[in-house]
Symmetry: C2
Subunit: 454 residues, 2 copies
């Protein structure tokens, strides 16, 4: 074929594809975009509102005794004796201020409730045709998030015990669980093609009660995952924003790939409705929580963020994909296991240490004698040391100082001491890179395991 002929063929194909896309846009995508546009608008307003309201509320939180000490700062302080201490380590910062972004987020989504159901240009629903199921899904998502905000704020104020970290998310996930039970939700899971052939199973298996255990564990994991990777200005909110953006990007990709699958479109739009105002209100909060933080976000925010992701993943039916977006948190958990399981000694705090002279953060260490560990502990220690996954300083008396097992310390082990803002940026870079990796895993992997990839 002559070059001119090839060009014409490409043009014809392009026009054909363009026309098909336009048709899809007009009949399927455009009507859906109206509530989405309203959601974006409400989200922007919510973000600006959070940005404005947070500094106004600082005094109220401080007055109520909700303050935390930022250990990675130095200031000047006059003691009761009149003595001036400079540099004095640690400044008091209003704590639990994530509650403000929770409240703004909830009001935004409350106002949004009727919008997906009252689109201008779409005729009124005939009797019985109203999509009550979709309304119930939105309401039960909001109920779980709202309950998590209430219980999270109560935890922040009352400083409950560590076991409540497991019970509170469980209580807040009840609306999702129970609505699932009420509507006779399908508790089947798709079986990978290879397993179907190997185990002689059908395309999907009913795992019944196990599904409820899975949802509960997911809620507990998500809420605690963000809480555990914390302790540096802007890290809790920053990682949540990155995860939120990743979920939104995934939803957009799914919407673009399967615009004609109305069930999938419904799931991904729902997730966008829930996640978009979360991203903007979190950005409003991040502005004040970024180094040097003028507010702390508290457990309230971590619970709120985790539950928002959990309901988006569960009710948007992409919970396995969502777990991929928690890769750094999962790695942090696995890396921490030797200390969490007390195979290797675990100090009360594993935050990085502060170097006042250079205003930098350095890794924190734990001291122990390797020969006093159990066999399992010695094995773990030697493996970590051999892999250079930890910083180890050996002392003359046979004891060692090993860096604590968190990915914050790991980054400091790899890069050396750095300023707090750089550390947050580095960790958010890791989060972003792992989101890219998650996308790279998600599509080829799913294609490999299942026949149809959605």
């Amino acid at each position: 074929m002559a070059p001119g002929g090839a060009r014409i063929a490409v043009l014809v194909v392009a026009v054909g594809v363009g026309a098909k896309l336009r048709r899809q846009l007009a009949t399927v995508v455009m009507p859906l975009l109206q509530p989405l546009r309203a959601c974006v608008l409400l989200s922007l307003i919510g973000g600006l509102a959070t940005l404005r309201v947070v500094p106004h509320m600082r005094a109220s939180f401080a007055k109520a005794g909700l303050t935390g000490i930022d250990l990675n700062k130095q200031t000047t302080r006059r003691l009761a004796s009149g003595e001036l201490v400079r540099p004095y380590e640690g400044v008091a910062v209003p704590e639990a201020m994530g509650a403000v972004s929770c409240a703004v987020y909830l009001v935004c989504l409350f106002l949004f409730i009727p919008l997906p159901f009252a689109q201008p240009g779409v005729p009124a629903y005939s009797d019985g045709a109203f999509p009550h199921a979709q309304l119930a899904r939105l309401l039960c998502a909001l109920l779980s998030i709202c309950c998590m905000c209430f219980l999270g704020f109560a935890d922040n104020v009352l400083d409950l015990r560590w076991r409540d970290r497991l019970i509170l998310p469980l209580a807040a996930s009840l609306p999702v669980l129970m609505t699932y039970a009420a509507t006779g939700g399908v508790t089947t899971v798709k079986v990978p093609a290879a397993a179907q052939a190997l185990l002689g199973l059908g395309g999907s298996v009913d795992i019944g009660a196990l599904y409820f255990v899975y949802i509960s564990l997911l809620a507990i994991f998500c809420t605690n995952a963000i809480n555990i990777l914390a302790g540096v200005n802007g890290l809790e909110v920053g990682q949540s924003v990155v995860i939120g953006l990743t979920i939104a990007a995934f939803n957009c990709v799914q919407l673009a790939r399967w615009p004609e699958d109305s069930v999938l479109v419904g799931h991904n739009l729902f997730s966008l409705y829930v996640v978009l105002p979360f991203i903007t209100t979190s950005l409003g909060l991040l502005w004040h929580n970024w180094y040097p933080a003028s507010v702390f976000v508290g457990d309230t925010y971590c619970y709120f963020a985790g539950m928002t992701f959990a309901v988006a993943g569960i009710l948007g039916h992409f919970s396995k994909t969502m777990l991929l977006f928690f890769l750094p948190q999962l790695v942090n958990f696995v890396y921490s296991l030797p200390q969490l399981a007390l195979i290797i000694p675990c100090p009360r705090h594993r935050m990085p240490g502060y170097l006042p002279a250079t205003d930098q953060l350095a890794l924190s260490t734990v001291d122990f004698r390797p020969d006093e560990l159990t066999t399992l502990g010695r094995l773990a220690y030697r493996a970590l040391a051999a892999l250079r996954a930890v910083h180890v300083r050996e002392r003359a008396d046979g004891s060692v100082a090993m860096s604590n097992l968190t990915i914050i310390n790991f980054v400091l082990h790899v890069c050396g001491p750095m300023r707090e803002a750089s550390l947050t940026r580095a960790l958010l870079g890791v989060q972003l890179a792992s989101s890219v990796l998650a996308f790279a895993i998600r599509y080829p992997l799913a294609a490999l395991l299942y026949d149809v990839v959605k």
Copy 2:
């Protein structure tokens, strides 16, 4: 007819009525009783849980600085100087502990969510037949109540400004409003028969946006009504329990009167589901809040109680009747108006005063010179004094000490000083009597105004 014949006739009628009642019981009422029975069981468990958990949480609330001073008690206290003060007025009591009953209530109703939809013996719903609308109603009720608990607790902790007392209930009532808007809820009101004839109107009139204003005002009224009639041990929770019991009694009467009207049955059952666990968890809290109170319930509880009543009334479609159950609160509001509108001077606190010598409460007064009031003020003062609706002590210099305009002071004006527990009992007696009055008004009045009374 011979006496024997009359007896037989009565017997035949009785058997006939009995058989009809039994048929109704078997076909209509019994299937409904199963979720109701589960609700009663969950409510009892919730009540016991509140009773047990509240004392366990006292220390956490006190440690978080959530304490209030009970001014109507005396104790012994050693000052910093070593001096022993006896009697020392006022004891510190953990505050905002209504949050515990809120949390227990929410968990109870979360667990209840699937029960009205999964009745044993009833076949599974066929596709599309699931009552999603009823599920959405329950979820949106819980969402408003949960949001009110969150915002109420935040108000309690952060001590927000008075104008937030109007904004917070408005924000929390949004889910009910917006769900109403989403489902294209009917915004028509029934017109009394007389008005129909007079104004040439049909049986009902669409009041559109005004209906939304009405719902918002109702939420603000209910939450603040209980907050304002407060200040004596056990009064907030006590009056809420009486109102809750009155609503439950009304629902039962309606269920018994119209067992064959499925819409009305649905409304009243819904209200019972929401109110029953409220009554039991409140009773568990009242046990600790009764004189001498070992906990204070805080604004958290007042907001929670008010919003529970508001959603029961709005979504149960008996909001006008419910307002009748707030008679003492309405009377208190009208009686207070001259002071609230500043026609008559209003001191910062209008609580009764404490008499340490006899451990009694006496009315509190406000001092002013009648000749310095505005014309309207003088008129109000003279009317109140002439009606003996206030206690007045005239001084030689022309000024007067008038009892503050609250029904708490009014009861003390009528009965004289009394001990705190007796005062609470008297005020709860007033609340109970007004509930009886409300029933007496409701049925004959409705019969007079409308053709069919439901």
